[in-house]
C-alpha cells in the first residue's frame, strides 16, 4: 500500500540564522527513514507523467520503486542510465516546474519529493563508494566538447559511455562551468561536482583546462586534430548591465564576478588569494536564482543588510520558490516593484547608494507577464556600499566570431535544429549558448540530445 499522506517529508536544513553565516550546504538531505517513507508515496503510475516533465527522461517511478525496496544502488543505476549528474540535479533542478509538477500526488496534496529522493540516492551512492564505472570498449572515434558546464558534461558523459574518445576543453582552470563558478557552495558543494567529473574521467573522458576555444584553439583546429564532431556548450557567460549612470563605480559588480570570486576563486573558504569586497549594505538587482545566490553569498560574507531590487512583483520573480523562501528566511530584504535608475557615488568612485523608482504593473507584455511601468516622481534611495547586477547574461561571442559558417541569432544564441546541429557541418551546440540563460537540467537535456545525434552521425559516416 502506498503511503497516502498528502505532504512531502520535509527537507532537514540548517537553521536560517545559523546558515546565513556559513557556506556549508543549506539542505542536509533525507535520512534513510525519510527516504523510505517518501518513496512509499509514489503511486508508480503506469503512464508516468513525471517522466515527461524531466528534460533527460529519467525513469522516475523505476528509481523510486527501487528506493522503496531499499535497493539504493539499483535506484542509482536507473538514474545514471539517463543522467550524468544525479547528485547535481537532485540539488539544483527546479523539480516543482518539471517532474514534480506532473506528479499525480500533486493534485490533492504535495507531489512526491522526487528531487529529494534523487539526491538521497546519489549521495548514498557517493558515500558507499560503489564500484568504479566500467570503461566501455573504445570505438576509435574522437569527439571534442567545448565547455565543461552541464551541457558539455552531459554530452561528454553520454558519448564516453558509448566508447567515444571524448576530450572536453575548458577555458577556466577548473572544469564544471557554472556549477563551479556560479552556483554557491551552500547549494551545490564543489566536492560533489569534482566527484561527478572524476566519474567521467573514469569513463575515459579527458579534460583539458586552460584552453579557450576561439583563442587558444579554433573549431577548425579541432577538426584538423582529428575530432570528427564538435559540441559547443559554452554557456551564456557575458554579464549584462543596465546602462544606468554609476555602473562603473567601485563596488558595482556583475553577479558573475561576485560569485566567481567567492566560488571558483574560493573566497568562501577564506583561503584563496583573490580579494572579494565584503560590503556592509548591498543591493542585488534582479529576481532570478543568480540574484538569490548573490544576495545569500553577500549575507554570508557578513553584510548587515542585503536587498533584492526587482522591478516586477513577487509573482513574477523568476527564481525558484524555494530559493526565494530560503533567501527570506536568511534575512534578505525584498524591494519589489522597484527599478534602479542611478547608482550614486560616495567618495572617490565608490558606491554610496542606489536610486530607484517605484513601478506598477501594467498590461501584459510579450512574455505574458504584466509590464512594469515607472511611477512618476516616486524615486527613492537605498543606502548601500555595493551593487550586484544579476539581470542576466548573453552567450559569449568568442567562438561565433572565430568559426566560419556558425550562424547565431541577433542576440548571440547559436542557431541549431532540434537535435542541436548548428549551421556548420559536424558542429553541435546546446545549453545556454543556444537558449540564453536557462537551467542546468535544460542544458543537460540539450547535451544528451546532441550526444545521440552525434552518435548517429558518426555511425552513419562509418
Amino acid at each position: 500500500m502506498p503511503n497516502m499522506r498528502n505532504t512531502k517529508n520535509e527537507m532537514p536544513s540548517q537553521a536560517p540564522d545559523v546558515r546565513n553565516k556559513n557556506f556549508d550546504e543549506v539542505a542536509l538531505g533525507y535520512t534513510e527513514t525519510m527516504a523510505l517513507d517518501e518513496a512509499a508515496r509514489c503511486l508508480n503510475c503506469k503512464n508516468s507523467p513525471c517522466v515527461t516533465g524531466c528534460p533527460v527522461n529519467i525513469n522516475i517511478p523505476a528509481f523510486i520503486k527501487k528506493t522503496a525496496e531499499g535497493d539504493y544502488e539499483g535506484a542509482y543505476g536507473v538514474i545514471a542510465e539517463s543522467s550524468s549528474l544525479p547528485a547535481v540535479c537532485g540539488r539544483v533542478c527546479p523539480q516543482e516546474t518539471q517532474c514534480e509538477s506532473k506528479c499525480v500526488r500533486g493534485i490533492k496534496g504535495e507531489p512526491v519529493g522526487i528531487g529529494r529522493l534523487e539526491r538521497f540516492v546519489a549521495d548514498r551512492h557517493r558515500k558507499n563508494g560503489s564500484v568504479a564505472a566500467e570503461r566501455p570498449t573504445p570505438n576509435g572515434h574522437k569527439v571534442a566538447v567545448v565547455g565543461s558546464g552541464p551541457a558539455g558534461l552531459t554530452c561528454a558523459g553520454a558519448l564516453g559511455k558509448l566508447g567515444y574518445d571524448v576530450t572536453v576543453f575548458e577555458a577556466l582552470h577548473t572544469p564544471g562551468g557554472v556549477l563551479v563558478y556560479g552556483i554557491p557552495e551552500f547549494r551545490l558543494p564543489k566536492a560533489i561536482v569534482a566527484e561527478e567529473i572524476d566519474q567521467m574521467k573514469e569513463l575515459g573522458v579527458v579534460f583539458e583546462t586552460n584552453t579557450v576555444v576561439g583563442r587558444t584553439l579554433s573549431v577548425d583546429d579541432l577538426f584538423d586534430d582529428g575530432y570528427e564532431a564538435v559540441f559547443i556548450g559554452t554557456g551564456a557567460g557575458l554579464p549584462r548591465f543596465m546602462g544606468i549612470p554609476g555602473e562603473n563605480l567601485n563596488g558595482v559588480f556583475s553577479a558573475n564576478e561576485f560569485l566567481t570570486r567567492i566560488n571558483l576563486m574560493k573566497a568562501y573558504k577564506g583561503d584563496g588569494d583573490t580579494p572579494v569586497m565584503h560590503p556592509r549594505r548591498v543591493a542585488v538587482v534582479g529576481g532570478g536564482n543568480v540574484a538569490m545566490d548573490a544576495a545569500r553569498c553577500a549575507k554570508r560574507l557578513g553584510a548587515e543588510e542585503v536587498y533584492i531590487v526587482y522591478r516586477r512583483s513577487e509573482n513574477e520573480l523568476p527564481a525558484r520558490a524555494e530559493e526565494v523562501e530560503h533567501a527570506k528566511e536568511e534575512g534578505i530584504i525584498f524591494r519589489l516593484l522597484s527599478n534602479p535608475v542611478e547608482i550614486l557615488e560616495s567618495e572617490n568612485m565608490f558606491v554610496g547608494g542606489i536610486k530607484c523608482v517605484r513601478m506598477e504593473l501594467g498590461e501584459p507584455d510579450a512574455s505574458g507577464r504584466r509590464r512594469p511601468v515607472a511611477v512618476e516622481g516616486s524615486e527613492f534611495v537605498i543606502d548601500v556600499d555595493a551593487v550586484i547586477m544579476a539581470i542576466g547574461t548573453s552567450p559569449n561571442p568568442l567562438i561565433k566570431s572565430t568559426t566560419e559558417g556558425l550562424d547565431t541569432e541577433r542576440w548571440g544564441g547559436i542557431i541549431t535544429n532540434d537535435e542541436g546541429l548548428t549551421t556548420r557541418t559536424a558542429v553541435w551546440a546546446g545549453g545556454d549558448a543556444v537558449t540564453g540563460a536557462a537551467t542546468v537540467i535544460l542544458a543537460m537535456g540539450a547535451g544528451k540530445t546532441a550526444a545521440e545525434s552525434i552518435d548517429r552521425y558518426i555511425k552513419e559516416r562509418g
Binding site: R215, T216, G237, P239, N248, T260, M265, P275, N348, P397
Partner: protein
Amino acid sequence: MFKIIEKKELNPTVTFMKVSAPRVAAKAQAGQFVILRVDENGERIPLTVAGYDRDRGTVDIIFQIVGATTEKLNALAEGDNIHDFVGPLGRPTEIEGLSKVAVVGGGVGCAIALPVARALKDAGCEVHSVVGFRNRDLVILEEEFRDVSAKMKIMTDDGSYGEKGLVTDALRSLIESGEQYDRVIAIGPLVMMKFVCRLTEEFGIPTVVSMNPIMIDGTGMCGGCRLTVDGKMKFACVDGPDFDGHKVDFDEAMKRSSVYKDFEKHAREETCRLLKGGNANA
C-alpha cells in the same frame, strides 16, 4: 602545469620568464595577454605577452613585483611550474599598413611595448621608441628597443640616465621637430597614457593605448575589466586590450584600478605604482 624554462632579473623589481606553453605560443600575437595562476589557491592575473617562440613553444612574460601574487611568481625558479597559464587572450595590436609609428613605453609597460615595436618593424614600419623610467637602475630592455627602433629616446625622472624628463617631453620634441607619425602607441601607467593622449590629441595623431585592468577570467565573463570608451561600456579582455586612447575615460580607469587597494598585501604607495607602471592586478 607550465614549466619555467628561463628566468632572469631585469631590474630589482622586474622579472623576465620564458614559459613552456606550446598552444599559447602557437597563436600569440603582439598586444595579446595571458592569465596565470601561480598555485592551487592563486589569484588569476593578466600579463601581456612579452614575446613568443612558436618553434620552441615558449611564451615570455615580464612582470613587476607589486603584490602577493607577483611575489609568489617571482619566488619560482627555472624548472618550476606555473599552475595555470591560459591564452592568448584579447585582440592583437593592429600593425598593418603603418609606415611610421612612435611607440611610447613607461616602466614595466615597456615589456608590452617591445613586442609591438618588434612586430611593427617586422612589418616594415619605421619605429621611434620613447621609453621612460624613474631612474637608471630601473631601465629595462634598452638593447632590445635599440634593435627595433630607427630613433630611440630614454627618459628618466631624475635624469640619472638618458634625458631628464617625462616621455611626453620627448614625444613632444620629436613631433615638434617635424616627425610625422601615422600613429602613437602608448603602453604604461594609466597616468602616462592619459598624458600621452592629451599631447597627441593636440597634434591630431591617432593614438592606441593598451589597457590592463583588473579581471578574472579574461574571456568576457566577469565584466570586472569594464571601462568607458567613447561613452560606451567596453570589456578590456574581449573588446581590447587596445583602445583609441583619445576616447578612453582614464580618470575612471584609474579609480577602478584601485578598488582592491586595501586588500593588496604588498601594494606600494599608489603614486609609486602609477609611476612605475605596475597595475593593481599585476
